[in-house]
C-alpha cells in the first residue's frame, strides 16, 4: 500500500473517529475523547494491516454501531441514574446549607417574598371567597332578585311592589317567589329566662314564608314558616339566625318559647344553621342581613302596585335557563307597566343573586387582583435577577462541574431548587402574615361589604399561597438555571478576561426593564386610586360631620298602639338627649346620610313652572325621609332657601323640605318655598330648599330628596343626630342613660360619631388605595434596589477599565454618565413596554376612579418622571463610587 494512500485512509479514519465521538455527551467527550481517538487510530491501523481496506471498512461500521449504542446510552445515563438515586433530596439539602451560609440574601429575599405573597394571599382570598365562591344555597344558580327599573326617571334597581311578587309567583318558570322587606332595627326584650336582660336592637326582616324553601336551607333547630303563616292575622312566629340564638345563650329549649319584639310576643319556631347567610340588596349600595325573621302581615296581592316596598326573590324551576326566566320576568313587567304605569316604560329585570351581591365590589376586587398579579410578576422578575446574580457568582463552579461530568439538568436543578426553596418558605411566611392580615382586612372593610365574614384566610387559601410561592420560585429559578446549564468551561475561559457577563447581563437587563415597566403600571394605578380617595375626602357631603354623634332608637306601632303615645315618646327622647351636658342641638331622621337606602315615592308639584305636562317628568320618584325639627341645624346641612322645620310643631299643617335638584327642576327661577307638594296622598307645604345630603355616593348627587316632617309620622324608627361641644366619643354612656330616662325598655343601637359613618362610606376606597398604593411602593423599592445592585456590580467588574479611563484623563462626569446611561436606557425601554401594558389595565381601573381620568396626563407624566428620577438616583448612588477610584491603587490591585 502506498504511503500516500495509507495517509489518506488515516485521515479518513481520524475524521471518522472525531465524528464517532460526537455521539457522546460533551462531558464524556471531554474526559475520554483524546484517549478514545488514540484507541480508534490503533484499531483502524491494525484492521488495515491485518485485512486491508475491506477490514478497515468493516471496522468503521462496527465502530459506528458501537458509538451509536454507547453514545446514546451515555447520554441517557444521568437522567436514569438521577431518577434511581433520588438526588433531589440531597440537592435540596445542599441548597438549604448554601442559603444558611448567606443569611442576608436568604432573609431579605424571603422577607420580600413573604410580604408580596401575603398581599397576594389576602387578595386571593377576597377574590375567591367573595367574587367566585357560589352562594351557600341549594342550587345557587337558580336564585334571582327582581328589580324595577323606571327608565323615564333614571331609576334602576328599585324595589318591586307586593303585587309584582304575587304575579311572579304565578309564572310557570318560577318555583318560588318571596317578598323581603328591608331589615329594620327593632327592640328585643323578654328573651331567655325571665326576660330580665337589657333591651337591645336586633335587625328584623319581614319575609314571605317561601323564603326558606326558596333558598333550600334547612333550619338547625325546629322548623321554618309554613306556607300559610303569612297575611292578616298570621301567627306571631319568628325564626332566629344562629348568631342571635347564640347570643341569647345557645339554648335549644328557646324553640317553642317566646321573645318580645317591640313588646309583641313572638314564638321562636326555628333557628338557622351558622352557615346560613342571607342579605337583601338595598338600593344602589350595600346589602343588609337580619338577626330575626318574621312573616308579612299583609297579602301581597292586595299591596299598592305603585309602591316599591319589597325586594323580590325568585327560584327558577330546574331546567329553566336564564334567558327564559328573564323573558318571563320582563313580560310580567310589561303587564305591570301597562296596567299601572300607563306604559311609561317600567321594566322588571332578573339579576342572579350572586351577581347582584358582588356587583358593587367587583370593580375594586378586580383592580386589587390585577395589582396583586402585577406585584407577583415584579417579585418573579426580582427573584430571577437575584438568583441570576447568585448563579453568576458560581459561574466557575458550574462550568467546572459541567466539565467534570455533571449534566445540564443537574446544574439547572441546583438553581431551580434554590428558587423553589425560597419561594416555598416565602409562601409559608406569606400565608402566616396573610392569616393575620386578612383578619385585619375583614375589620377594615365596611360592614356592608358582601361576605365580609368570609374574608379571612382559610386553609385552602394558605395552601394556594405556599404553592404559588413554590411555582414563583421555580419560575424565577428556571431562567438562571437554563443559563447555568448551558455554561461551558471553554466559553467561561474565553470570557474570563473580558468579564463582560455576556448572556446573563442581557437577562438581568431584561428583568430590570420589565420590573420598571411593571412598577410604572402599578405606580400609575396606585396614584390614580389614591387621587380618587383624595377627591372623595375633599368631597362635600352636604353636611358637617364633625362633632355629631348618631344613634338609633327603634320605635314601632306594635310597641305604641296609639300614635300620640309614640309621638310623646319621641318628644321625651328628644328632650332627654338635649339635656345631656355639652349637647348643643338634637335632630332625628328616618335614614341618616350615606346609608345608601331610602324609601322611594312618586311626587307631584301641582302648578309648578317646571312642569312640562309629561307625566314622566312631572311625577318623579324621589327619596323620602322623615326628619324632625332641629335635624338640619344639628347635621349642619346647608339651607339654600327658606327656613327649616321649626319648633314648636303645629299639628295639622304638613311641612316638607326638598333638595336643590328637585327645586331646580320644578322652580328653575326659585320660589319653591311656600308651594304645595303632593306625596303619600297628602299635601304638604315646602318650607325650605336644602343642598342634597349625600345618601349614596360621597361625590355625586343621588335621587331627588324630600324630607317630610318627622313629628307627623311618629311610628318611624328614628336615627338621632346630636351635635355637641365636647368630644362625641365620650358621649356614649350619657346617651344611653338619657334614652333610658325616657323609657328603660328602649334599645339604643349604633352609637357612633357621624365622622365614622362618613368614614365607612370611604372604607372600600381607602382599602383599594392602601393595597394598590402599597403594592406599587413595594414594586418601586424592588426595582430601585435592583438598579442599585446592577450599577454597583458593574463598577466592581469594570474597576480596572474605569481606572484606566480616569488615568487617561476622562473627566468624572463623563465616566459617571457612562455608568448611568445603561440605567437610563433601561428606564426608557421599561416605560416603552409599560405604555401598552397600562392601556390593558386602564379599562379595569376606570370603574373605581372618581374625579380623575385614566389618561390623566399629569399623573402619567408625574409617575414617569418620578420613576425615572428614582431609577437614576438608585444608579447614581453606587456610581458615585467611581469617583473614589484612585487609578494607581486600582491598577496595582490587578
Amino acid at each position: 500500500m502506498s504511503r500516500a494512500r495509507s495517509g489518506a485512509l488515516a485521515r479518513v479514519s481520524d475524521a471518522l473517529s472525531k465524528l464517532l465521538l460526537r455521539w457522546y455527551p460533551l462531558d464524556f467527550r471531554e474526559e475520554m475523547g483524546p484517549a478514545m481517538r488514540e484507541a480508534y487510530r490503533d484499531r483502524f491501523d491494525d484492521a488495515v494491516r491485518e485485512r486491508g481496506v475491506p477490514g478497515l471498512v468493516l471496522a468503521w461500521c462496527a465502530a459506528l454501531a458501537d458509538a451509536m449504542r454507547n453514545g446514546i446510552g451515555e447520554r441517557a445515563r444521568p437522567s436514569i441514574r438521577w431518577r434511581r438515586s433520588g438526588r433531589w433530596g440531597r440537592d435540596a439539602e445542599r441548597v438549604v446549607k448554601r442559603l444558611v451560609r448567606a443569611p442576608v440574601f436568604a432573609l431579605s429575599t424571603i422577607a420580600t417574598l413573604g410580604i408580596g405573597l401575603a398581599a397576594f394571599a389576602i387578595v386571593y382570598t377576597a377574590v375567591s371567597n367573595v367574587l367566585l365562591a357560589p352562594m351557600p344555597y341549594d342550587r345557587p344558580d337558580g336564585v334571582y332578585w327582581v328589580f324595577r327599573d323606571y327608565p323615564w326617571l333614571g331609576l334602576e334597581r328599585s324595589s318591586a311592589a307586593g303585587t309584582d311578587v304575587d304575579a311572579l309567583a304565578q309564572l310557570d318558570v318560577v318555583e318560588h317567589a318571596a317578598a323581603v322587606r328591608p331589615p329594620r332595627g327593632v327592640t328585643l326584650t323578654g328573651a331567655g329566662d325571665g326576660g330580665a336582660e337589657r333591651p337591645r336592637e336586633v335587625r328584623r326582616m319581614v319575609v314571605s314564608p317561601a323564603l326558606f324553601p326558596l333558598l333550600g336551607v334547612a333550619p338547625m333547630l325546629g322548623r321554618v314558616f309554613g306556607p300559610d303563616e303569612s297575611g292578616p292575622g298570621r301567627a306571631p312566629h319568628a325564626v332566629l339566625t344562629h348568631g342571635l340564638w347564640a347570643s341569647l345563650g345557645a339554648d335549644s329549649s328557646l324553640v317553642g318559647r317566646s321573645i318580645r319584639l317591640e313588646g309583641q310576643p313572638f314564638t321562636v319556631i326555628g333557628v338557622m344553621p351558622p352557615s346560613f347567610r342571607f342579605v337583601r340588596p338595598t338600593g344602589t349600595s350595600g346589602s343588609q342581613g337580619a338577626d330575626v325573621y318574621t312573616t308579612l302581615e299583609v297579602r301581597l296581592a292586595e299591596a299598592d302596585p305603585q309602591a316599591g316596598n319589597y325586594a323580590a326573590l325568585l327560584r327558577a324551576r330546574d331546567g329553566v335557563g336564564r334567558d327564559q326566566l328573564e323573558e318571563a320576568v320582563a313580560s310580567v313587567g310589561r303587564t305591570v307597566d301597562r296596567e299601572h304605569f300607563e306604559s311609561h316604560g317600567l321594566t322588571l329585570s332578573a339579576v342572579g343573586a350572586h351577581e347582584d351581591l358582588v356587583r358593587d365590589v367587583r370593580p375594586a376586587l378586580t383592580v386589587m387582583a390585577v395589582a396583586a398579579a402585577l406585584l407577583l410578576a415584579v417579585l418573579v422578575a426580582n427573584l430571577t435577577s437575584l438568583l441570576l446574580v447568585r448563579a453568576t457568582q458560581r459561574e466557575r463552579e458550574f462550568a467546572i462541574s459541567r466539565a467534570l461530568g455533571a449534566d445540564g439538568a443537574a446544574i439547572a436543578r441546583a438553581t431551580v431548587l434554590e428558587g423553589a426553596v425560597l419561594g416555598a418558605i416565602g409562601g409559608a411566611i406569606g400565608a402566616g402574615l396573610a392569616w393575620w392580615g386578612s383578619h385585619a382586612l375583614a375589620e377594615l372593610t365596611p360592614v356592608t361589604f358582601p361576605r365580609r365574614e368570609d374574608l379571612a384566610l382559610d386553609p385552602a387559601g394558605a395552601l394556594v399561597t405556599v404553592a404559588t410561592g413554590l411555582v414563583l420560585g421555580v419560575l424565577a429559578g428556571l431562567i438562571p438555571g437554563v443559563w447555568a446549564a448551558r455554561l461551558q468551561l471553554g466559553s467561561l475561559m474565553a470570557t474570563a478576561n473580558a468579564r463582560s457577563g455576556g448572556g446573563r447581563a442581557t437577562l438581568r437587563r431584561a428583568m430590570l426593564a420589565s420590573q420598571i415597566a411593571l412598577s410604572f403600571i402599578l405606580l400609575c394605578s396606585g396614584t390614580l386610586v389614591v387621587r380618587t380617595l383624595d377627591t372623595l375626602l375633599r368631597a362635600d357631603p352636604g353636611f358637617d360631620p364633625a362633632n355629631v354623634t348618631t344613634l338609633r332608637v327603634p320605635i314601632t306601632g306594635q310597641r305604641f298602639p296609639e300614635a300620640e303615645d309614640a309621638a310623646r315618646m319621641q318628644e321625651r327622647i328628644e328632650r332627654a338627649l338635649a339635656a345631656i351636658p355639652g349637647v348643643t342641638s338634637v335632630g332625628a331622621v328616618s335614614e341618616l346620610p350615606m346609608q345608601g337606602s331610602a324609601d322611594q315615592r312618586p311626587m307631584l308639584f301641582p302648578g309648578a313652572p317646571g312642569n312640562t305636562g309629561e307625566a314622566d317628568h312631572d311625577r318623579p320618584v324621589v327619596d323620602v325621609f322623615y326628619a324632625r325639627s332641629g335635624y338640619v341645624e344639628t347635621l349642619g346641612a346647608r339651607v339654600v332657601e327658606g327656613v327649616p322645620f321649626q319648633r314648636p310643631h303645629r299639628p295639622g299643617r304638613a311641612e316638607v323640605m326638598i333638595d336643590e335638584t328637585l327645586a331646580r327642576t320644578f322652580f328653575p327661577k326659585g320660589g319653591a318655598v311656600g308651594r304645595d307638594i303632593h306625596i303619600n296622598d297628602d299635601t304638604a307645604t315646602v318650607t325650605a330648599v336644602l343642598r342634597q345630603l349625600r345618601q349614596y355616593d360621597l361625590h355625586a348627587d343621588g335621587r331627588p330628596q324630600v324630607f317630610l316632617r318627622g313629628e307627623d309620622w311618629a311610628y318611624e324608627t328614628m336615627s338621632w343626630a346630636i351635635r355637641s361641644s365636647i368630644d362625641p366619643s365620650s358621649l356614649a354612656p350619657a346617651i344611653e342613660a338619657a334614652v333610658h330616662t325616657a323609657d328603660p325598655s328602649l334599645a339604643v343601637a349604633s352609637v357612633r360619631p357621624m365622622t365614622a359613618v362618613v368614614e365607612d362610606a370611604l372604607r372600600e376606597r381607602r382599602l383599594t388605595a392602601t393595597l394598590v398604593g402599597g403594592f406599587a411602593l413595594v414594586a418601586l423599592l424592588l426595582t430601585a434596589v435592583g438598579l442599585f445592585g446592577t450599577v454597583a456590580s458593574a463598577i466592581l467588574r469594570r474597576k480596572h477599565e474605569l481606572a484606566v479611563r480616569i488615568a487617561l484623563g476622562a473627566n468624572h462626569g463623563g465616566v459617571l454618565w457612562m455608568l448611568i446611561r445603561e440605567s437610563a436606557r433601561l428606564v426608557l425601554i421599561g416605560l416603552l413596554i409599560a405604555v401598552p401594558g397600562f392601556l390593558l389595565v386602564r379599562r379595569v381601573l376606570e370603574r373605581v376612579l372618581v374625579g380623575v381620568s385614566t389618561s390623566d396626563p399629569a399623573t402619567i407624566a408625574g409617575v414617569a418622571l418620578g420613576l425615572a428620577g428614582i431609577a437614576l438616583l438608585a444608579s447614581y448612588l453606587p456610581a458615585r463610587r467611581v469617583l473614589r477610584i484612585h487609578p494607581a491603587t486600582a491598577l496595582r490591585e490587578e
Binding site: L20, F28, E31, A35, M36, A39, A63, G71, G73
Partner: protein, 119 residues
C-alpha cells in the same frame, strides 16, 4: 464480612468489565491494549472502543480501576495514551466474580449440565 459485602454490590460484572479487570490484573494497560488482550484471550467477543471506554469511565467512578501515571517505554511522549491500573477493590471484585463463576461451574457439573472433565 464488610469487605465481602462491599464488593458484592458490583456483581455480577458485565463481560466487558470482567475482561478489563482480568486484563489489568496482569499489568497496567491502555485502552486499545485491553481490547487486544481480550481478543487474544478469545473467550468472549472483544469490546469495541466505545463500549470499552464507557466501561473504563464507569469503573473509574466506582473505584475498581484508576488512571495510572506510568507509561510504557515506547510511548512516553504520548500524553494521550492513558494507562489504567486495577485497585485492590477491583481485584476483590474480580476474584469474587471468578469464584461465583467457579461455583456456578461446579454446580453445573453436579447438576449434570457439564462433564467433570470440562473443569
Amino acid at each position: 464480612m464488610d469487605r465481602e459485602r462491599s464488593f458484592e454490590r458490583f456483581l455480577p460484572l458485565r463481560p466487558v468489565e470482567f475482561g478489563i479487570l482480568l486484563s489489568l490484573g496482569e499489568a497496567e494497560r491502555h485502552g486499545y491494549g485491553m481490547i487486544k488482550d481480550a481478543a487474544k484471550r478469545g473467550i468472549v467477543r472483544a469490546p469495541d472502543v466505545g463500549t470499552l471506554y464507557r466501561a473504563l469511565r464507569r469503573m473509574t467512578d466506582q473505584g475498581l480501576i484508576v488512571e495510572s501515571d506510568r507509561r510504557s517505554a515506547h510511548d512516553v511522549d504520548d500524553e494521550r495514551r492513558q494507562h489504567y491500573r486495577i485497585t485492590p477493590l477491583g481485584r476483590r471484585v474480580a476474584r469474587g466474580q471468578a469464584l461465583q463463576f467457579a461455583a456456578l461451574a461446579r454446580a453445573a457439573v453436579e447438576g449434570g449440565l457439564l462433564e467433570g472433565g470440562a473443569l
